[in-house]
Amino acid sequence: MTIRGPKGGILKLISEHHVRMIYRNALRVLKEVGISVKSKSLLDAFAKAGCKVSIKDQRVTIARKVVQEALEMAPKSVVMSGRDSEQDVLLEDGLVYFVLGGTPNAHFIDLDTGNFRRPTLNDMKAVTTLADYFDTISVVMTTAGGFDAPEETQHLHELATLLEYTSKPIIYPAPGADMARKALRIAAAAAGGEEEMKKRPILSLYAEPTSPLSFSEANDNMIEFAKAGAPIVCGPSPISGATAPMTMAGNATVGLAENLASLVLAQSVRPGTPFVYGPHVGVMDMKTARFCYGAPELHMGWVLQAQIAHYLGLPSFGQGGCNDAKCPDAQAGAEAAMSALLVALGGINLIHNVATTAMGDAGCLEMIVICDEILGYVLRILREIEIKEETLAFDVIKKVGPGGNFLSEGHTFNFFKKELYETKVFDRTAHETWANRGKKDAGEVARERVKEILKRHQPKPLDEKAKSKISEIL
């Protein structure tokens, strides 16, 4: 059974006329400026797709007609499969899902000391196990990394850990053709063979052209995933004022152009390749020159991208539930909540970087638990308000009458669990009760829950045959 997320897409920041202006601007960039392509395979693929290719300048320009043909070939809805088919998700206009983390983080906030250190494969296991446990998380990337694995095959060891510790759909980077082929073989081993992987690809590629408008051999991975029929999520990071124009409309134009070029590439390799639209609208702090994950402009940018994806008729990928704080504090909670809610209301299908902390620099176990709570709120808010005779509740209003109360009514008993979201971490007790229980803040409660869940939750195991096949490939 495929899961259908709640519907977002009710928040719009610009008119459809303005969306069309950004789209036309991106088409103009592709035609008049073009993209830089420093890869022989990509140049060949773009030529085959009908683009104008200058081998000498490593420059490709793309006509409107070629883009429009690619848009027609791309599926409007995409199923992302999990190792367990019960975990499959349907990406379709406005349906919202949350994704743990993103690409591996360079640091990890130690649960016991709060200190920043390098993440290990053990940390990968922990964050993946939590992602597997929480129903609010539908798709898994990471907030850790496997820095204790051999350098050359770090991404592959990380992928193997993901496949072992969750049965949910996985999106992961695999730069270059060789790495992509190995990642696909590892995923196929976990899926139960190449054929099974073709039918239900349990791994989607996180592909990243370099902004502005540059493609390199690292992006050859898109060719490999398109050939394999596995979904491609295209998430370049144009940063306003740095790798893109300072203005939101200019930034969105660059990300859109990069995505359209990638779409053309993917569809020319194999028409019908599942392609997910996902450019960041990056924001840099102009004093520290650091890329922000909690900035309000970023969340606005994702709402804009949701509108563009809707206009293109493509599934979308964005970001929320992340923060710039260095520990699970008030800043972390506020930024995670605002981004998750706004972007969900915008209707991005896959909202990634949930629980990513310290401006994309660190993973934090407590933040996964706190984000589960935040996402619980968000998913509740997205749920439709039912208006029908039973919910209008005239009968019970009449029965109780003026001055009575509804507490012992069957109507209350029947509906309270459905109507109300119950908190798990956030405290709703009296202050005396809170004090008697040790005056714990949300971070501390989360820390205890992390330990408790990791002790108890067993992800659906990967069979031994698959495991040994994966070790062989590694």
Partner: protein
């Protein structure tokens, strides 16, 4: 310069020349203190990056205007300035961070040679032999390209060049721990930290 006014600065340069102030004087006592002030303000978190960049553009334009009038000197501070070699390591084509470092260092009066992005170990070694820098700055954003930093340091040792240069590393995937593990001389958290670390390294 302090108003980030390109045309205004050019106007004042011409006025100064008409008043008989020497071009060297204008650079030394006019433009340079201006950009240093902005560099300091940026270091203290009081100025913004685009302001620093704009000031660097003004400096470049001003020096460009005056240089032809200064006899026999291609670059006025070439001889005295400490030379720094910069580059993003092979496999990585991210250059924004490195470029910010370059501007901050240039603003502080260093002679910076930038090898660009995707720079191979061999190219670094060749450049060290040719330009004899006091410091090499290595940048990497991707975790996958980190190993290249260690290889460059090993290769410097192999070629007997390690003692002649200090190596500073930076980029969002680098850490002090990593810098120590590859025996780099310093790790710069950001451009401003990098500048102060380089000043310590060469003092």
């Amino acid at each position: 310069m302090l108003n980030f006014d390109m045309q205004g600065t050019e106007r004042m340069i011409r006025k100064g020349l008409q008043a008989g102030i020497s071009p060297v004087d204008i650079v030394k006592n006019g433009l340079t203190p201006g950009i240093e002030k902005i560099g300091d303000r940026f270091g203290r978190g009081e100025a913004y990056l685009p302001e620093l960049m704009q000031a660097a553009q003004i400096m470049k334009a001003g020096v460009g205007l005056l240089e032809p009038m200064i006899k026999g000197s291609k670059s006025m501070n070439e001889k005295s300035a400490t030379r720094i070699l910069l580059g993003t390591v092979q496999g990585d084509i991210h250059d924004i961070g490195k470029n910010i470092v370059r501007i901050v260092l240039e603003t502080a009066g260093f002679d910076v040679i930038d090898l660009g992005v995707d720079v191979s170990v061999e190219k670094f070694i060749q450049a060290v032999k040719e330009v004899r820098p006091a410091v090499i700055g290595l940048s990497a954003l991707l975790t996958t390209t980190l190993p290249l930093m260690g290889r460059i340091i090993a290769s410097l040792e192999h070629h007997g060049l390690r003692k002649s240069v200090k190596v500073i590393v930076g980029g969002s995937s680098v850490s002090q721990e990593y810098a120590d593990s590859i025996k780099a001389d310093a790790y710069g958290i950001d451009a401003v930290d990098g500048l102060s670390k380089i000043k310590t390294l060469i003092s």
